[in-house]
């Protein structure tokens, strides 16, 4: 057998199609392209929302009209044409299922291709799955078990109808309608998403998870997630995404709000694998997300994310540490390959006394990609004894990619302790040869080295997610050493 060089490997992998690139043909009810007050009203009407919700959306829309798309991120892309997007698409059949037999077989087939069939999910002990497919939740499992504990886990549309008092009280309190351009857009047109409420003192007995999937050509996705953990409660929430491949860019602008009341804890984990575009940089998802959590007294919020997808990512899961002794954590792995661009990081806003935050960011860049960490640590004047530890590590593969770190630190209190560490390294040929000599092929060697590099963050993921995340890292980086 002849020598199988890295160059050959690289070529083979570049030609490999996006693994989850297929398209499901399910009849959809899609709005005409464009956005105006009538469309916003129509969305609200379609979803049978109460008047207050319609008004809330309109307020957001009016604010959005006055706003300008932000340009400060270290990413370059063709701006979406907001009037060329259809803002609503829902599967035509809106059934409520009691068993899998009633589900559209084509939809089940899609899940099977994704390797996340409901069948499997049901068997995965302790995981309730609320699947968002093209904006409308089509199946919810384990709901009854949760209901017994008083936990509410449903689509946001359902929550607006069934639990208006909770939605009204918390929606937009962490990410206001006018927070930023994309948050305003989301607030106006959000199609669906998830809602979760954990009552006082309740420990959610299972990991809550949602799988998102963009399915309708040319349809922007505007998910809205709201998680409220009442006093002394605990919840771990998992979010995972894959998307079919498309030629035109797909816009994704989600908003996630987390509220941890006194002594509560929320763990929010994401594995993001939107279509990143092909090897020439064509296509791919634009992912402009606003994620923020609010911690009251003694509360804790942990964000863990594994970002491997999207052509352009703009995402800063943040914590507002309002209550005394509250804790914010951010653990992130961001992988970029080919022409992907990611500008991601976090904001830790210390308002209360004795607040603590930890930031561990691992950026891996390959191909011709650009990977930026952007983080803000802000200590307010009354935040006595606030502490932060930040660590940003970058791993480079080849000579055509870039890694950037933009740490911002603003401290208005002299008792604050802030630490920042940063490293940049490159996968060495010596490391790869060492692995080869022990019988480990190059591709596997790279996966091993990358997993080692990312270990501190992978360890923070729930078990079944960690396995999936490791596989994703392997798929995303195959053949990228140079």
């Amino acid at each position: 057998m002849s020598k199988y060089t890295e160059e050959e490997l690289k070529i083979e992998l570049e030609n490999k199609e996006y693994e989850y690139g297929f398209y499901t043909d399910i009849e959809s009810d899609t709005f005409p392209n464009g956005l105006n007050e009538d469309i916003v009203r129509a969305i609200s009407l379609k979803k049978e929302e109460p008047e207050w919700m319609t008004e809330w959306r309109l307020e957001a829309f009016r604010a959005w009209e006055q706003m300008i798309e932000p340009e400060w991120a270290n990413v370059h892309y063709e701006k979406p044409k907001f009037q060329d997007i259809s803002y609503y698409s829902a599967p035509m059949k809106k059934p409520k299922y009691n068993s899998l037999d009633e589900v559209d077989p084509e939809l089940l087939d899609t899940f099977k291709k994704l390797g996340i069939s409901l069948d499997e999910q049901k068997k995965l002990a302790g995981v309730a799955v609320d699947i968002v497919m093209d904006s409308v939740s089509v199946a919810t499992t384990f709901k009854q078990t949760l209901a017994e504990k008083g936990i509410i886990f449903c689509s946001i549309s359902e929550a607006i109808k069934e639990h208006p008092e909770l939605v009204k009280k918390y929606l937009g309190t962490v990410v206001p309608q006018k927070d930023n351009f994309y948050a305003a857009l989301n607030s106006a047109v959000f199609s669906d998403g998830s809602f979760c409420y954990i009552p006082k003192g309740v420990r959610c007995p299972m990991e809550l998870s949602t799988y998102f999937r963009i399915n309708q050509a040319g349809t922007g996705q505007f998910e809205r997630t709201l998680v409220v953990a009442d006093e002394g409660s605990y919840v771990s929430y998992l979010e995972g995404c894959t998307a079919p491949s498309r030629d035109e860019n797909q816009l994704h602008a989600a908003v996630v709000e987390l509220i941890a009341l006194d002594d509560a804890e929320i763990k929010y984990s994401t594995v993001q694998n939107w279509f990143p575009g092909d090897k020439t940089g064509k296509g791919g998802v634009y992912n402009f997300v606003t994620k923020r959590g609010l911690c009251e007294r003694n509360a804790k919020i942990s964000w863990t994310q594994v970002e491997t997808g999207s052509a352009v990512t703009w995402k800063y899961p943040s914590c507002v540490l309002k209550g005394d002794n509250s804790v914010g954590e951010f653990y992130s792995i961001a992988v970029t390959n080919n022409y992907q661009q990611a500008d991601t990081g976090t904001k830790m806003i210390h308002l209360g006394k004795n607040t603590k935050s930890t930031i561990i960011s691992k950026g891996i860049s390959a191909g011709k990609s650009q990977n930026s960490y952007r983080g803000l640590v802000q200590i307010a004047s009354r935040a006595e004894n606030a502490r932060n530890f930040s660590q940003c590590d970058s791993l480079l593969m080849g000579n055509s990619c870039g890694a950037h770190t933009f740490p911002y630190i603003e401290s208005k209190n002299t008792s604050a302790q802030i630490e920042h560490e940063a490293t940049t390294s490159k996968i060495g040929e010596d490391q790869v040869f060492y692995c080869n000599q022990r019988g480990i092929p190059t591709e596997k060697a790279i996966a091993l080295i990358v997993n080692g590099f990312s270990k501190e963050v992978l360890n923070k993921l729930p078990m079944e997610f960690a396995v999936e995340a490791q596989k994703l890292l392997e798929i995303s980086l195959e053949g990228s050493v140079g």
């Binding site: 002849s2 040869f433 080869n436 019988g439 480990i440 092929p441 080295i449 080692g452």
Partner: protein, 248 residues
């Protein structure tokens, strides 16, 4: 076991190996000695298949099969093991995890199933006891923060785990104090058998007091210029490499 014939190799068009001939039979230990820059490490890298080197002539035959065109991992699967002079660090990857991956990749290449976890644990326990290695050591990141002695012991531990047919020890004695040297050498001796062979590459005779060779070869300027029994090593120690240089 190993038969090297007229091996020529160069790096960036500079010829370093200029016609090496070497026959190693199962059960034998061969020492290769020589001054700095004589091509000792190049020879070990070329046998292991490092791509920086270009083989311009000759052949490397392992158990009747020419392995000269195989990728490094394929040679490893066939039983070639190189104990590195400077083992690399792989942060976040434990020694155990690394070994598990290496063993299973070899098994996969041979069409075998992955080794069951309990067998793997048993093997690890056995080998770490044989080499008197504290098992806590095995959960540390590969070579990260290891002392010189720990790195070399770790190489020998890997050799024990992988059970190679041909082990090449590249300057395993460099950077070791006398105690560490003894421990490492004892490990190698425990692993010797009638079915495997060892090539020891070294500057100094002292390692050969512990790992006693059947043959000693002197490498100079890319060629083996002298071969003999273990007494050749003493002669070299006594007369120094200038003796070789003046003769060639």
């Amino acid at each position: 076991m190993l038969s090297i014939k007229n091996l020529h190799a160069s790096v960036e068009d500079k010829e370093i190996l200029k016609g090496i001939n070497l026959e190693v039979k199962a059960g034998e230990v061969h020492a290769i000695m020589g001054p700095n820059g004589s091509g000792k490490s190049t020879l070990s890298s070329v046998i292991a298949g490092k791509e920086d080197y270009e083989v311009t002539d000759g052949e490397i035959v392992l158990e009747g099969e020419d392995i000269g065109e195989l990728a490094p991992e394929e040679r490893a699967h066939k039983g070639v093991f190189l104990s590195f002079q400077y083992p690399v660090e792989i942060p976040g990857v434990s020694v155990t995890n690394f070994m598990k991956t290496a063993i299973n990749e070899s098994r996969k290449a041979k069409g075998l199933e992955e080794m069951p976890a309990n067998e793997m644990l048993k093997l690890i326990r056995e080998k770490s006891e044989l080499l008197e290695i504290d098992r806590k050591f095995l959960s540390r990141s590969l070579n990260e923060g290891f002392s010189g002695g720990e790195k070399k012991r770790n190489e020998i531990f890997q050799m024990a785990m992988l059970e190679p047919k041909l082990a090449i020890l590249d300057e395993t004695d460099s950077g070791l104090d006398i105690d560490a040297l003894r421990i490492v050498a004892n490990g190698v001796n425990k692993l010797r058998s009638k079915d495997n062979a060892v090539i020891v590459i070294t500057h100094y005779q002292r390692l050969l007091d512990y790992i006693v060779p059947d043959y000693v070869h002197v490498l100079y300027n890319g060629k083996i210029v002298k071969s003999g029994g273990k007494e050749l090593a003493y002669e070299l120690e006594e007369k120094g490499y200038d003796w070789i240089k003046s003769e060639n």
